[in-house]
């Protein structure tokens, strides 16, 4: 089995689905000959034709708005937004149109579309290239929000997303794009949207996270004393949240730490904390601890590592939650 990076696994999934389903088209800035600024669509224009891997004008609202039209009219568009920081111009199309069409037309107009977006910090990028806006779209009903962090999960989840009858935002943690490889089957397989994964089994405390933070959490857990047993959950999908998986774990451990890159206030940690409180109230030994980005703008890269939850800060959060 081939060992692929996250970039390669996503590329393989796109290639696979374009071959299988001729309704699938990719559109976005620089996705054609250049293969996207991260090379995720490399080789696809050559193989499937530039009309199926369409370079678009520099207009995010246009990209998503046009993709909505494509989806309504029988295509399966996969628009790419070059960086999460540039979803702004497309916000209206995503939230006020894509997310609402099915409900407001009582199921007669539907938008099967997968919006791919590189996300997150840690790569020393220019301003507005390092944010984590997943909570904003989770807070908008009518969208599914996926953020896998391993090549295997990315391929399986992307195939599910493309085949999903509703709009899915597929966030790709750019810090992990080329950070490691793993075996990815060439065959067709899917991972259901909304299913979390237990990365590490443990009994003392549950850490819930997703995206690139999974690796910071693994590092933090590695640094804990041997007698501490931590269960690590990678949500993979943040909307819908797999609360059953989280609750089962927290009912066992009695303690929960949520880690994310995005700012804390009204972030997904707040939602998860509320759900845990509802489902696990009598099992909890400590308040749910949040280790997240601060309530500031994402600092420019000289200070980004001070902002992002790292192994040290996560480790401290775990230790304190355990000691409570």
């Amino acid at each position: 089995m081939a060992k692929l990076t996250l970039v390669q696994a996503i590329n393989q999934a796109l290639d696979h689905e374009m071959t299988r389903d001729d309704r699938v088209i990719i559109l976005g800035e620089d996705v054609g000959k250049n293969g996207g600024v991260f090379r995720v669509t490399e080789g696809l224009a050559e193989k499937h034709g530039e009309h199926r891997v369409q370079n678009t004008p520099l207009d995010e609202s246009g990209i998503i708005g046009a993709a909505i039209g494509l989806a309504m009219a029988g295509m399966r568009p996969i628009p790419e937004i070059q960086f999460e920081g540039f979803m702004g111009p497309a916000y209206d199309q995503i939230v006020n149109h894509a997310a609402r069409y099915r409900a407001r037309s009582r199921g007669t107009v539907t938008i099967p579309m997968t919006i791919r977006v590189p996300v997150g910090g840690g790569i020393h990028a220019p301003e507005l290239h390092s944010d984590s806006p997943e909570a904003i779209y989770t807070h908008s009903p009518g969208l599914k929000v996926v953020m896998p962090c391993t090549p295997y999960d990315a391929k399986g989840l992307l195939l599910s997303a493309i085949r999903d009858p509703d709009p899915v935002i597929f966030f790709e943690p750019k810090r992990v794009y080329r950070s490691f490889r793993e075996e990815v089957p060439e065959e067709d397989y899917t991972i259901p949207i909304g299913e979390a994964k237990v990365v590490n089994d443990g009994d003392d405390l549950t850490v819930v996270t997703w995206g690139a933070s999974v690796f910071q959490c693994l590092e933090a857990i590695d640094g804990l004393p041997d007698d501490v047993s931590v269960e690590l959950i990678d949500l993979r999908t943040v909307d819908p949240i797999d609360i059953d998986c989280i609750a089962e774990s927290v009912q066992k451990t009695g303690r929960c730490v949520v880690v994310h890159e995005a700012p804390r206030t009204a972030g997904l940690g707040a939602e998860i904390s509320a759900l845990v409180q509802e489902r696990c109230f009598l099992h909890l030994e400590a308040p749910v601890q949040r280790v997240t980005g601060f309530d500031t703008i994402m600092p420019y890269y000289k200070l980004e590592l001070e902002y992002l939850p790292d192994a040290e800060r996560i480790g401290k959060g775990i230790t304190e939650c355990l000691a409570y």
Binding site: E60, H124, F294, D295, Y300, L303
Partner: protein, 374 residues
Amino acid sequence: MPRETIYEAKIEYLQILNEDGVLDESEAEGSLTDEQALELYEQMWIYRRFDEIAFKLQRSGRMGTYPQNKGQEANAAGSGLAMQRGVDWVVPCYRENLAMHLHGMPYHQILMHWMGDERGNMIPEGVKMTPLSVPIGTHMLHAAGIGWAMKLRGESGAVITYFGDGATSEGDFHGAMNFASVLQAPVIFFCQNNQWAISVPFEQQMHSRTVAQKALAYDMPTIRVDGNDIFAVYKATKEARERAVNGGGPSFIEGMTYRLADHTTADDARRYRDPAEVEAWAEKDPLIRTRKYLASKGLWDDEKQALLGERAEKIVGEIVKAAEGVEPPRTEDFFDYMFAEPTPELVEQRDTMRTSSIGVNPGQIGLRAQGERV
């Protein structure tokens, strides 16, 4: 009634200094004097050296991603000089560093920006400029608002805003044009048409034959100029500025140029661009033709060039030293500048560097009560 033509338009193209360094004397009237041309040549040359060194800083790991301006210096130089420093506003994107410099933004701060430091965005006292803008096509609306404010406040002067060909595809571009037009604000929309938006060529960006014609929809005076010709850029900008300060409203200038370098240091243009095209444009380099012109006037020679080279080396060396010599930014900074007065929550997060208020003691209310770093 037979159909009649109710609207007709044309787009003019202005070139004064051609690729061979020959000046069109009749059009040169009202453009740069020879001293100004000399001054701009030196500025462009020093800028080019700055640009090359910035590239090297990135390659040697001393700086992050950097977008080179190479080949587009004449747009920045000619328009920058035509605007009045300290009176007019400059609302830049990121490919007119020389215009920012001419209006008072120190070069070392531009380097600090690309070194990942917000202090590179600090606007010096008395400089009328916004920090360079990363979300493409969005900042031109601010120019419309600034121009509107100047009008409301009865201030004399104008605003110039810079953006690329790709930026004209964004909805906000059209919003900015419409606002400035409806409010007749004193704004100059300066499009640096370098014919590429990363890997997307002009013909894929728009089906329009020129960018300049987009201004027709807003009934705005508009022109395409040779953007590698400081004389044409200066003259068109000066005319637009005069119109703006005399109540004539906004204008549009399309400066035709070419991005001689990769989009940024993170890009590899060989993947999508024919090297022959780059070579052809390299011959139209604004520095080459300006030098030819000055030499033909007896204003430039090899000796002067050698001296300029030495001067540039020294200047750029100092710039790099200044940018690398600043003390590291403080972590507190990203909290302290969020609001005029930080909120209590921000103060707590800053002082504890934590985002959760639970500690080890169940009776504890806040972290500060526990005597952590305050």
